[in-house]
Symmetry: C2
Subunit: 549 residues, 2 copies
C-alpha cells in the first residue's frame, strides 16, 4: 500500500450520474470481504459450508452511565437487503478496474466470472434472535450458515445494518424507561448520518419512541409522523410586521385541535407563554382544546414548572409541556427530579406536572451520544469438511475476545418468579433441558461457575429462530407494533437492577460444561507453547503486552 497507488479518478469519471445501486447494492461491503472471497475461490473452498456468529461483546457504556441490556433490532432491513442484493454486470466491470501493484487487476477474470454468477446471498441459511427482544453480550444474535465466500462477503453489510439499529433501539429503551408514561418522540433526523436517519427512526420506534418527526419513514412504517413548528414560523410573521401572538394565532387557526406552540422565540416567560395562553383562550372560546406548549432552550425544569403554573392559572391544566433541546435519559431524569422539587415549592401537584411532560429527543438518541457505536462482530466459528463440522477458534491475547466455537444453541433461563436469570450457550448436540442441576460456566474465568437446581428454573426458552432458508420464502417478519410488544414482554421479565440507568446489575451469560471444554481444547491446540500464567484462559491481563510481563 503506497499513496502513489491511486490513479486520479480510476473510473475516469466522478459520480456525476450517481449509481446508487453500485453504492448500496451488493458492493456495499468492505473490500477485504472480496479479496478473501477470491482467495477462497482460488483455494477451491468458496462453497465449503461455514458458520459465522454475529454478537456484540459489551453493552453500550455512555461514560457517566451504561446499559445493562440491549434491544435487538435491524434484522428486517438486513433480510430485505440480502434478498435484493445481487451483483450486476456493471459492478463486475467496476471491480475489474481495481489495480494491483504489478500493473494488472486485483481481481482475476475467472473469479469475476464466478462472482457474476454467485454474487448474491440466496444460498445462505440464517437464524436469529427475533427483533425487539432483550439481548446480552456474547450471545449469538444472528447465525449465518452457507458457502464460505457468500457468508464472508455478507459480514460488512450485516454488521452495518445490525450494529446501528440495536444501538439506537437500546438508547430509545432507556429513554422510554425514564420517560415513564410520557410521550417520547424521535427528533433526530438532522443530526443523523445521512440516510442513517431512517434506520434511526425505525430503531427508535422499536426501542420505545412513540413517534418520529421523520416523515417518509414514519409513513412507510405505518406511524403518523409528529411535528408542529419551528422558530422560523414565528420569525416569519414578525419580519412581515406582525408579532409572536399573531404568529401563534395564525398557527391556531390552521391547527385548532392540534395546537402546540413553541414559546421561546422571543422570551419564554415574558412573551411566549402569555401569548400562547391568549391564543389558547381564543381557541377555547371557539370550542377547541389546545394541546400544549414546547420549550426548546433555557433551564427546562424551571421553565416547565413556570409554564405549568401559568397554564393552570389560566385554566389549562391538561395542556402538555413538550421539552426538547439536548435531552437524553440522564437529562430527563435530572429534569424530572428538579420539576418534582420545584413544583412542590410552587404549590403545584408534582405528579401532575411530570405527567404532562412530553419529550422530543434528537441528537443524543440518534448518535447514542457517549457510545456512538455498538461493538458487534461477525466471527467464523465452524467449517464443514468431509461431511463433518469443525469448530473454528480465534485465539486472542484478551481471553474475553475469544469467540465461542462451533454451532450453538441459546437458552434463556427463567427463575421461579418467571424472571430471566441467565442466558446459556450450549453445543448444538446437547439439550440442557434435562440437566439437573444446570451448570453455568463463566465464559472466561475458569473458577467462576454456578449450579441451579432444575426445579428452580420455571422455563427454558430457545432464543434463535429460523429467518432464511435457501429456496424458501423467508419467514414472515412482524410489524413494529409486534416488535414493541416483544420488547415490553422481555422488559417485564428483566430484573429492575439490570434495567437501572446507572451502574446496572450484570446479567449472566454462561456456557455449558461441554461448550466450555470444547473452547479450552481448541485454544490449547491453536496456541503456541506458552507459560501457564499467560494462557488465554487465565484472567484478563494487561493490554496485549504478554512478552513484557
Amino acid at each position: 500500500m503506497g499513496r502513489g497507488g491511486r490513479g486520479a479518478g480510476i473510473m475516469g469519471a466522478r459520480m456525476n450520474e450517481p449509481d446508487r445501486e453500485l453504492c448500496e447494492g451488493f458492493l456495499f461491503t468492505d473490500q477485504y470481504e472480496l479479496t478473501m472471497a477470491q482467495l477462497y475461490f482460488r483455494a477451491g473452498i468458496q462453497d465449503t459450508p461455514a458458520q459465522f456468529d454475529h454478537f456484540f461483546r459489551n453493552n453500550p457504556d455512555y461514560g457517566s452511565h451504561q446499559a445493562g441490556y440491549c434491544i435487538n433490532a435491524g434484522l428486517e432491513w438486513l433480510v430485505r437487503w440480502m434478498q435484493s442484493a445481487r451483483i450486476r454486470p456493471e459492478d463486475v466491470e467496476h471491480l475489474r478496474t481495481i489495480p494491483n501493484r504489478s500493473g494488472g487487476s486485483l481481481f482475476a477474470d475467472d473469479f469475476l466470472d464466478w462472482l457474476r454468477e454467485n454474487g448474491h446471498f440466496g444460498a445462505l441459511r440464517m437464524e436469529a434472535v427475533p427483533e425487539g427482544r432483550v439481548v446480552h453480550p456474547d450471545v449469538p444474535l444472528t447465525v449465518v450458515r452457507g458457502p464460505l465466500a457468500a457468508a464472508q462477503i455478507l459480514e460488512s453489510a450485516l454488521l452495518n445494518r445490525l450494529n446501528y439499529q440495536t444501538l439506537i433501539a437500546t438508547k430509545a429503551s432507556r429513554i422510554r424507561h425514564v420517560a415513564g408514561e410520557s410521550l417520547f418522540v424521535d427528533f433526530g433526523m438532522r443530526r443523523a448520518q445521512d440516510l442513517g436517519a431512517n434506520a434511526a427512526a425505525r430503531a427508535a420506534l422499536i426501542g420505545g419512541a412513540d413517534f418520529s418527526s421523520n416523515t417518509g419513514v414514519s409513513l412507510a412504517l405505518g406511524y403518523p409522523p409528529k411535528g408542529t413548528h419551528a422558530h422560523s414560523m414565528v420569525q416569519a410573521f414578525m419580519a412581515l410586521g406582525g408579532d409572536e401572538r399573531e404568529a401563534f394565532r395564525r398557527y391556531a387557526e390552521v391547527y385548532p385541535d392540534d395546537c402546540i406552540l413553541l414559546v421561546d422565540t422571543v422570551d419564554t416567560l415574558e412573551s411566549g407563554i402569555p401569548n400562547a395562553i391568549k391564543v389558547f383562550e381564543e381557541l377555547r372560546r371557539g370550542g377547541h382544546t389546545p394541546v400544549g406548549v414546547r420549550l426548546d432552550s433555557g433551564d427546562l425544569a424551571y421553565l416547565a414548572v413556570q409554564a405549568a403554573r401559568q397554564l393552570d392559572a389560566a385554566g389549562f391544566p391538561d395542556c402538555k409541556i413538550v421539552l426538547s433541546n439536548q435531552l437524553d435519559e440522564r437529562v430527563i431524569q435530572q429534569v424530572v427530579g428538579q420539576v418534582r422539587e420545584e413544583a412542590g415549592r410552587a404549590g403545584l401537584d408534582a405528579d401532575a406536572v411530570v405527567q404532562r411532560l412530553t419529550y422530543g429527543v434528537g441528537t443524543h438518541l440518534v448518535t447514542s451520544s457517549g457510545a456512538p457505536a455498538l461493538d458487534g462482530v461477525y466471527k467464523l466459528v465452524g467449517l464443514k469438511r468431509d461431511g463433518e463440522w469443525h469448530p473454528a477458534v480465534k485465539v486472542s491475547e484478551n481471553p474475553a475476545k475469544v469467540p465461542n466455537p462451533g454451532g450453538k444453541s441459546v437458552w434463556r433461563l427463567y427463575d421461579r418468579r418467571g424472571m430471566a436469570t441467565a442466558d446459556l450457550l450450549c453445543r448444538l448436540a446437547e439439550d440442557p433441558r434435562g440437566d439437573d442441576p444446570l451448570v453455568l460456566r463463566h465464559p472466561v474465568v475458569e473458577t467462576a461457575q454456578r449450579s441451579i437446581a432444575r426445579d428452580d428454573v420455571s422455563d427454558m426458552e430457545s432464543l434463535l429462530a429460523p429467518v432464511l432458508e435457501p429456496g424458501r420464502e423467508p419467514v414472515a417478519l412482524p410489524d413494529i407494533d409486534e416488535l414493541r410488544r416483544r420488547r415490553d414482554r422481555d422488559l417485564e421479565r428483566l430484573d429492575p437492577g439490570v434495567k437501572r440507568i446507572v451502574n446496572p446489575h450484570v446479567y449472566h451469560v454462561s456456557l455449558s460444561q461441554r461448550l466450555w471444554r470444547l473452547k479450552q481444547e481448541l485454544i490449547a491446540r491453536a496456541t503456541p507453547a506458552r507459560s501457564e500464567s499467560s494462557s488465554p484462559a487465565a484472567a484478563p491481563r494487561a493490554r496485549g503486552t504478554p512478552g513484557r510481563a
Copy 2:
C-alpha cells in the same frame, strides 16, 4: 399529542414492499416543515421570498480535545438530492392519511393540491462556501433564497446532509494532521449508521483519508477501495487442518505483490510475525515484494516496534506496519510518541519506524467519537415584503445563539504573511474592501473589537459562491481530488495554533460595524422591555433563567 393518537398501522400495511422513494425522496424531512408550509400556504405567504442561512455554532469538542476549524463537506450530495427530489402523487396520498385530532386530515386537500405542483426545490437559489474549504463557527456556509415554503421544507434534509459530512471531513482532517505522510484509510463502514456509511467514506476522503475500505462508494467516487483479509481467513485454513503459516502462504500466492498479512489471529510476536516473515522470504525468492503486516490488537506501539525489529532483522526494512483497532487522532499521537521512544531504546531509527506506519481508522472516524454530531442550524434571516428585504431575528436567552440577520457577504482576511487572520461578516450592501482601518466586532461582546490597517491585509476573499440558480444548470461541482486540493491550500494558510489537536487557538469570526448595529437594533425591537443588565447584547448569562437573576 396523546399516545392514543396513533392507530395501529395507519397505512394498513407495513413496509413489506419497501418504498424507498417515500423514505428517501421529497418526504425525507421532519413533519414540522410540512405543517409550517401548510400554514404559510393558508396565510398566502408560501411564495414570499425568504432567506435562510445554514451555519454551525461550535467546532466539535471531543471532550479531551477539540477542533479549531472544520472542513466543509456534503454540498454535492445535497444538491443532487435537491435536483431529483420531487413529491409524487403517492407521497401526497400518504400525507393525506395523517390524522388530526378532530378526526380529519392534518393536511387539507387544497394544500395537498398545491404541494403536488410545488413539492420540489427548483425555485430555490443557493450560494455556499465551496466544499473542501476550511470553515468556522457562525459563518453562513449555505445561503438559501426563494419561496418561503420550499426553503422551509428543505431545512431537515439540508442539515442532515451537511452536518454529517462536515463533521467527518473535520475528523479526517485531524487524523491526517497527526498521520503526517503516512497512509490513512477509512475502515468504518460496519460502525456507521446504515447507509450513512457511504457519506462517511466520501467525507473521509474529502477531509484527508487516502482511501476507504467501502467498496461501492469508493468505486463510484473514482478511488480504488482498500482491504486485504480478516482473522476469519486464517481461522478458515486452521479449521480445515492447516495452520497460520499455510493461510499466509495461500494468501501470498494469490496476492504476491499486494501482500499485507494480519498477524494477530494466534499470537502476534510468537506466531504471526515469524510466520509472515517466512512467507515474505518465499515471496522474495519468487521475485516479489511483500507489502506489510497489520496489527489489530494489543499494545500497538510496542508491537509495532517489535514487528519493525523482526522485519528489519529479516531484511524487510520497507515493509509497512498497518495499525488498526480503536484509533483516533489522540491515540495515533500517543502511539507515534511511544514508538519514537521505544524504537530508540531498541536501537532502531525512530523516524523510519514512524514512516512505515499506516493507519486504518474505523469507529472513531465515522462516529466522530466524543462529538458525534455537528450543531449546524438553518435559520430564517430575512423576508422580502413590498419589494424590500426585511431582516429577521430570533432573540435567544443566550446571546451567542442570536443568528446574524439579513443578507450578508462573507470575507476571509489574509495578513501580510498570506495567512488567514479572520472571517468577516458584512451586510450585503457594504463592500468592506475599501475600509481603512477595518473594524472587526465580536459577534456578542459589545466591548470586544479590533481594528486592522488596510495595509496589513494582503487579501480579502469572498467565500460564498453561487451553486443553484432557478432555471439554470447547476454550477459544475468539482471531483474529490479538487476538494482535497482546496483543503490543503486552506490548511497551509491556517495558523498552526488553530490546527493544534488539543486546546487550539480560537480563529476570529467578526461582524462589520453595520451588521453589528443592525443586529442590536433588531434585538431591541423584538425584545419585551427588560432591565439593561439582562439585554441579550450583554455578556452570556447563566443558562436561560433570566427571571431568577
